[in-house]
């Protein structure tokens, strides 16, 4: 019987083979990703247990209970870590059951998050909780249904029958009488008690795990879902955590989208991919409609400062995310997707910008128009934030639909980071560094708050104590070579550079496209550092001056263009990635050198004030860094980095052209 089972499994695999074509190199099973995935599952289960414990404790013991309590932060941290590990697994495991499982999982997450958000808007927190729990339960049933074809496939049935004979000799004759088309044998004709049935089922299930890959994977997926269900319902039903609800819904939606894209990327079957694209398109439509509805409401009701932040803004960002995911799945080549991209991003962005400008213009206009009508001010912060959102929407829309060659290379390079584990490693490393720095920052702030004498040292911007530290500076200097090292050297090594340059495209276009791709990835990665202060400011409601964050982000972004240009240059010099990285570090160290000189000059009091000392001060990296951090952005600092970038990009183009004359 076991033999039969393995035989029919191999027949199934063979059909797969035919689908893939005759001469197929067997993919290596992604062992690392699977290990990470299983580990992530355990982490997720652990956080589910913690959340469940909290729920039990607060339900039965109340707040005064002496029982220990797991911090919400810890539970969120473990949940997010577990999800990240699962995501890593989803990104690198292409097996059919795995990708389908993740796809179903992501649909459920999208439905749950969407309904959660809806109920939150309509009925408040309890509605959300109920909706989430219900959808997750429904989802579990859906998953069970999805799993059915695999579980009840011929090999498994025969396996069940075989087990029946082996393990339960007394029941065997009766069990085998039942018709196999009715499902597993024990279902119909066996007069055993229901408890016994459950026991039997579990025993069989247990023995099936490990014999059939599909069953193992379904079990894995089911365990993931159960863990998520427990975590969410526990978080939601625990008292005093209601503020988290919209956040949880949002996180669910984002997680669902990322999982959906990853799973659909691996999908061969057009139907599944299209289904994914339609779900995302629907999400985009709903989110954009919500944003526009809120904006129109703000335009009509002018007496308050507007409802569009934060819900409308988040809806806009979410819509953008959905849309990008959908474009990723269906491309923009056919007319439908092309025009929906034009309408869905470029026109939507223009509309949002227009509405924001009109509403922001009302207060000053009303001074001329009416004696009594005084709309409340809108531009700061709502109008400004909406304009930023609109700009992002328009730029992404144009990048998406553009047929420009540079944009094509830019998109490929940016996406290429996510094709390999390297990008995930960089992001994860930065997240860990930032989290650590955040803890350090918190301890500094707490120590200051508890120490009266120390308090007077604390002047705004207090984010100085978060960013003017070794770790962020180190990260700023260390990431660019990591990002740029493969850009040209990898292409040189594999020979794809020849193919790239034989396309009708100029060297300048190639260099700029790659440079912009690397820079965009840097901006995303570097943005992780800003998440923690923003959470501190907006979610924990701690008022501090957040505006220096803007100048600091822009300023360090400018700093990065010179670092990245240096990295691009050295990457074009050699076909060895390691050498490229080492040379780029040397280049960045050379850029850091004026800072060392500046320190020497300032330690020798006498020589400050001379013109050379002033020049060195202007080009000292950390001095500029500090200026950005304190909200001062000087043109000469930006130009310094821009000119270095232009020089090195120009040299890179020359190097690429030099191949012709060797």
């Amino acid at each position: 019987m076991t033999q039969l089972a393995t035989q029919s499994t191999s027949i199934r695999n063979r059909q797969d083979e035919e689908l893939y074509g005759p001469s197929r190199i067997e993919d290596q099973p992604p062992q690392v990703a699977r290990t990470v995935g299983v580990f992530g599952l355990f982490v997720l289960l652990a956080s589910a247990v913690m959340a469940g414990w909290n729920a039990i404790r607060s339900t039965f013991g109340g707040e005064s209970s002496q029982l220990p309590f797991f911090g919400q932060g810890w539970i969120s941290f473990w949940t997010i870590s577990g999800l990240a590990m699962l995501y890593f697994h989803a990104a690198f495991d292409r097996a059919r059951e795995i990708r389908r499982g993740y796809m179903v999982l992501s649909w459920l997450a999208l439905i749950a998050g969407g309904l959660g958000g809806l109920f939150w808007v309509l009925y408040g927190y309890w509605g959300t909780a109920a909706a989430l729990v219900i959808t997750i339960l429904v989802g579990l049933m859906a998953l069970a249904l999805t799993a059915c074809p695999w579980v009840l496939s011929a090999p498994v049935q025969s396996e069940l029958a075989g087990l029946n004979e082996k393990d339960h000799p007394q029941e065997a004759p009766r069990a085998t009488v039942s018709n196999s088309t009715n499902g597993p044998g024990f279902d119909s004709a066996v007069p055993v008690s229901s408890w016994k049935r459950i026991g039997l089922f579990l025993a069989r299930w247990n023995s099936l795990i490990g014999t059939d890959v599909a069953v193992t994977r379904v079990t894995f997926a089911a365990a993931v879902l159960i863990a998520l269900a427990i975590t969410f319902s526990a978080i939601l039903t625990t008292r005093f955590q209601w503020d988290m609800l919209p956040l949880v819904a949002l996180a669910t939606l984002v997680a669902g989208t990322t999982f959906l894209v990853t799973a659909a990327k691996h999908e061969f079957d057009v139907t599944w991919r299209q289904a994914g694209a339609y779900v995302l398109g629907l999400g985009h439509t709903i989110a954009s409609a919500a944003l526009l509805a809120l904006m129109v409401r703000d335009l009509v009701v002018t007496s308050d400062s507007g409802l569009v932040t934060p819900v409308g803004l988040l809806a806009g960002l979410l819509g953008l995310l959905f849309f990008l995911a959908q474009v990723n799945l269906s491309g923009t080549d056919d007319d439908l997707s092309y025009y929906s991209a034009v309408v869905g991003l470029v026109l939507l962005g223009t509309l949002v910008a227009g509405l924001a400008v009109i509403r922001s213009a009302l207060p000053p206009l009303s001074l001329y128009l009416s004696e009594t009508w005084r709309p409340s001010p809108y531009f700061i912060p709502n109008g400004l934030l909406l304009l930023i959102l609109a700009t992002i929407q328009i730029i992404t829309g144009l990048v998406t639909v553009s047929n420009n060659q540079m944009v094509a290379i830019f998109r490929r390079e940016l996406l290429a980071y996510f094709y390999t584990p390297a990008a995930y490693l960089v992001l994860a490393a930065l997240a860990i560094l930032a989290a650590f720095q955040y803890l350090v920052w918190m301890s500094i702030l707490l120590a200051a708050a508890n120490n009266f004498q120390f308090r007077e040292v604390f002047l705004e911007p207090i984010i100085r104590w978060y960013f003017y530290q070794i770790l962020p500076v180190f990260a700023l200097l260390a990431i660019p070579p990591f990002i740029t090292m493969r850009l040209f050297s990898e292409e040189k090594r594999t020979g794809t550079l020849e193919v790239l340059l034989v396309a009708p495209v100029s060297e300048t276009t190639v260099v700029l496209g790659k440079f912009l791709g690397a820079w965009a990835f840097f901006l995303v990665a570097w943005g992780i550092w800003f998440v923690f202060p923003l959470i501190f400011r907006f979610l924990m409601g701690q008022p501090f001056d957040y505006r220096p964050l803007l100048s600091f982000y822009v300023g360090t972004g400018f700093m990065a263009i010179s670092f990245i240009a240096i990295g691009v240059f050295f990457s074009a010099l050699t076909e060895n990635q390691v050498i490229a990285a080492v040379l780029a570090y040397a280049g960045i160290f050379a850029m850091f050198f004026p800072q060392l000189l500046h320190w020497i000059f300032t330690s020798l009091r006498g020589s400050t004030g001379e013109w050379i000392a002033n020049v060195i001060k202007e080009i000292a990296i950390l001095e500029q860094y500090n200026n950005f951090l304190e909200g001062r952005m000087y043109l000469q600092h930006l130009l310094y980095h821009a000119s270095i970038a232009v020089l090195f990009l120009f040299l890179t183009v020359r190097i690429l052209e030099a191949r012709k004359w060797k």
Partner: protein, 317 residues
């Protein structure tokens, strides 16, 4: 109309002369085999034609555009398949072709159609969603060819399109190239000679950077000689053969297994006329038993070895 025209093309790598005053042209609709031993300068010449390298001197035009001055137009009009078929391993076949189509400025409305067309034409529909890194050598070759075709170029330059393939795949690729030859001009380099005989109409043999020979394949194959083995005294038979009308030269060669009394001859005739019947008649008249009477066309292989080896000897001297 000449689609590719090469005039006195010369390329130095430092002190090394890789291509030495090469002249040739390829007409519209031709499939031309570009032959030569390893290191003869095939790839370098092709890279100059694709504008990837620049010539040290001389000129070349592709589709009427100068490779130096109008490099962009040249690249827009040719599809190039490099020898090792470098591809982005981390991309999917479909994604890669869409990216390449975008890069080669295929109009958006045509893009999907073109990609579907080349997927089907190169028979890679079944692997369209596969990661390129997981494809076998044969499929990679086809993806590379699909890329070369995606912007519908009139000229294809293929650098050893069959190297590293198994015989079945080689055959399939050759069939594809022959099909493509119906509406494209193809310049194809290789050192596998039967392939050339199968698909090409014309050959250019390059050796040590110089054109050693270029001619239509049908011309080359017309060159033939008659092999004769007959049981007769060698000198007497030679005189007899020499006297036959239309015989140009008769050369005595040892018979194949050196059997006693059997003499072997190589007979070249005027204008390559097939004189086998006349010879047989004369020999029968003398009652000399014939063991072998054969018309042998000169194979490309003989020619290739002769041309390349001759060149080498010449250089050594």
């Amino acid at each position: 109309m000449a689609m590719i025209e090469v005039h006195n093309l010369t390329k130095y790598f430092g002190q090394v002369l890789a291509v030495d005053h090469v002249n040739f042209s390829v007409d519209k609709g031709e499939i031309v085999g570009f032959l030569g031993p390893n290191g003869a300068g095939k790839t370098t010449t092709m890279r100059i034609l694709t504008t990837y390298l620049s010539a040290s001197s001389g000129s070349a035009t592709v589709a009427g555009y100068d490779v130096m001055r109008q490099s962009r137009e040249v690249r827009q009009h040719l599809g190039y398949l490099p020898e090792q078929v470098p591809l982005y391993n981390e991309m999917r076949v479909e994604e890669y072709l869409h990216f390449r189509a975008r890069l080669k400025q295929v109009d958006r409305r045509l893009r999907t159609k073109r990609v579907e067309y080349v997927l089907e034409r190169c028979r890679i529909l079944p692997v369209r969603r596969r990661l390129i890194g997981t494809l076998s050598r044969g499929y990679r070759q086809r993806v590379g060819l699909a890329d070369a075709l995606v912007h519908d170029p009139p000229i294809l330059i293929l650098d050893e399109p069959t190297s590293g393939l198994d015989p079945a795949q080689q055959q399939e690729t050759l069939n594809l190239i022959r099909e493509l030859g119906q509406d494209h001009t193809v310049l194809l380099s290789t050192h596998i000679l039967p392939e050339v005989e199968e698909v090409c109409q014309r050959v250019i043999i390059i050796n040590q950077g110089r054109i050693a020979l270029q001619d239509r394949l049908s011309h080359l194959q017309r060159d033939s000689h008659i092999v004769l083995e007959v049981k007769a005294p060698a000198e007497e038979a030679r005189r007899l053969l020499q006297s036959i009308d239309g015989v140009r030269t008769v050369r005595v060669v040892p018979a194949e297994d050196g059997a006693d009394g059997i003499s072997g001859f190589h007979i070249e005739t005027v204008d390559n006329h097939d004189l086998r019947l006349a010879i047989a008649e004369r020999l029968l008249h003398q009652r000399w038993p014939i063991r072998r009477l054969d018309l042998r066309r000169r194979s490309l292989r003989d020619l290739f070895i002769q041309v390349t080896a001759g060149r080498a000897l010449h250089h050594a001297a």
